[in-house]
């Protein structure tokens, strides 16, 4: 029951901050990977190449769904910004339900850009059902479809190394983030710019996704400070023999 109360309080904080952030200007610290992503978006529109966005293979009915949902939020804004490009962005997933949502999200991005008639359903793809099957299916997209930037945001495992390697061979930049620690270390080594930890969830706010996304960053910061203070106070209390 305590957990439900905490979630309720966080939800209220998120709603209040969303309303407040609508009126206040947004200021973010610089994250090099997201600056590279914004440059890559501009490049893909200018030189007629396409973005490959992969939202991983985290099933929506498991606790791995959080990073996939964050990836979809970013896909929505990337689709909106690059829908007018000669080559539309391609989204790949390794989970059937996630691939349906990726198609829907791409369509939403096109619709927001006023270019719904340009939407092609096959740009949202399921490339495989198993992690390695998914990677094997996504590698030809990077290799054969004139991709200028490879964005990996979602739940990945060790197979993400095959994707970063395919991108490296084609001189395609990779920007990656995952909630899986193995994939995080691989993406740190294999991508030009890696996002670490909670930066995955900040990406859509940096792309201008709106007040709700900015508010959720503030909520995360507040909670992080609360956790840090609680940990420090607990350590001091333990040291003094109070608990």
């Amino acid at each position: 029951m305590t957990e439900l109360v905490i979630i309720g309080l966080v939800a209220i904080l998120l709603l209040v901050l969303t309303l407040w952030k609508r009126r206040s200007p947004q200021q973010f610290r610089s994250i090099p990977a997201l600056a590279s992503l914004i440059r890559a978006i501009g490049l893909s529109v200018e030189d007629g190449s396409r973005l490959h966005i992969s939202v991983g293979h985290g099933s929506l009915i498991t606790p791995r769904s959080g990073s996939g949902l964050a990836g979809l939020a970013m896909l929505r804004h990337l689709a909106e910004r690059t829908s007018s490009s000669d080559r539309p962005p391609v989204a790949t997933t390794g989970d059937p339900a996630l691939s349906l949502l990726a198609q829907d999200t791409l369509q939403a991005g096109y619709s927001a850009a006023g270019a719904e008639e340009l939407f092609v359903p096959t740009t949202g793809r399921l490339t495989g059902m198993s992690p390695f099957g998914f990677a094997a299916g996504a590698m030809p997209v990077i290799r054969d479809e004139r991709v200028s930037a490879n964005v990996l945001m979602g739940y990945f495992g060790p197979e993400s190394a095959l994707l970063t390697d395919a991108a490296e061979q084609e001189n395609v930049i990779t920007i990656g983030a995952s909630d899986n620690l193995v994939a995080q270390s691989i993406l740190f080594a294999g991508s030009q710019d890696a996002l670490i930890g909670e930066e995955l969830y900040a990406s859509s706010a940096y792309l201008g996704a709106g007040a709700a996304h900015t508010a959720s960053l503030t909520v995360q910061d507040i909670l992080r400070w609360l956790i840090m203070v609680t940990l420090l106070l607990s350590a001091v209390a333990k040291f003094m023999g109070l608990i």
Partner: protein, 202 residues
């Protein structure tokens, strides 16, 4: 219509969340989760149709790699019909799984070892900073502390490896996971309240 869809999604999400904590709503939560699993099963069929349509397009437009697309479709349809006629427990289906699919995945896993080593070597060329240097030195020390060295094991590397994995790595991992949990919580709440709607196509 889209408000109606959002209302259903928000109500379902709230019922599942509250049902997780309140035993009185546990049955409703279970029913909704069972529906979600049935829908995920149905999504698999749609996913396969998506796979077929993507590769059919590639063959029709004679795109690069269309031969592989043709092979994929032949293998997919062949396996489907064999499985449909013979059943998944038939010896032929087991040979397909154990003789082709599993070795192919194992081969990709083997390829991963080389790929990771290559990525580690290229890291310093791609991004020369203090974090990359620390990353590589840590990986090297863990490797030296784990593998059997030609001149025999040096206990100091074993102890160092143990300290690095049990203290530094665990501390760092907990910090990262804490950030991930907070991010997942706020992302989940955004979807729950309909602020993010990855459904409805609008």
């Amino acid at each position: 219509m889209r408000y109606f869809i959002a209302a259903i999604a928000v109500a379902s999400g709230l019922l599942v969340l509250v049902g997780y904590f309140l035993p009185a709503l546990a049955n409703v939560e279970m029913i909704l989760l069972n529906w979600a699993m049935i829908l995920a099963g149905a999504a698999m069929f749609l996913g396969i149709f998506n796979l077929i349509s993507v590769h059919s397009e590639k063959i029709r437009h004679r795109e690069k790699g269309n031969l592989y697309s043709a092979l994929l479709l032949i293998a997919l349809l062949g396996t489907f019909f064999l499985g449909f006629i013979l059943g998944p427990d038939n010896i032929s289906m087991r040979i397909l799984l154990n003789g082709i699919i599993l070795p192919a995945e194992a081969m990709l896993m083997g390829l991963l070892a080389v790929t990771l080593l290559y990525a580690a070597i290229r890291l310093l060329r791609r991004r020369v900073n203090i974090m990359s240097v620390i990353f590589l030195i840590s990986a090297l020390l863990i490797l030296i502390g784990t593998v059997t060295l030609p001149l025999g094991n040096m206990p100091i590397f074993g102890a160092l490896r143990s300290w690095m994995t049990n203290v530094l790595a665990v501390g760092g991992a907990r910090g990262i996971l804490m950030g991930v949990v907070l991010g997942t919580l706020t992302t989940g709440l955004r979807v729950l309240f309909g602020m993010d709607r990855p459904y409805g196509g609008k």
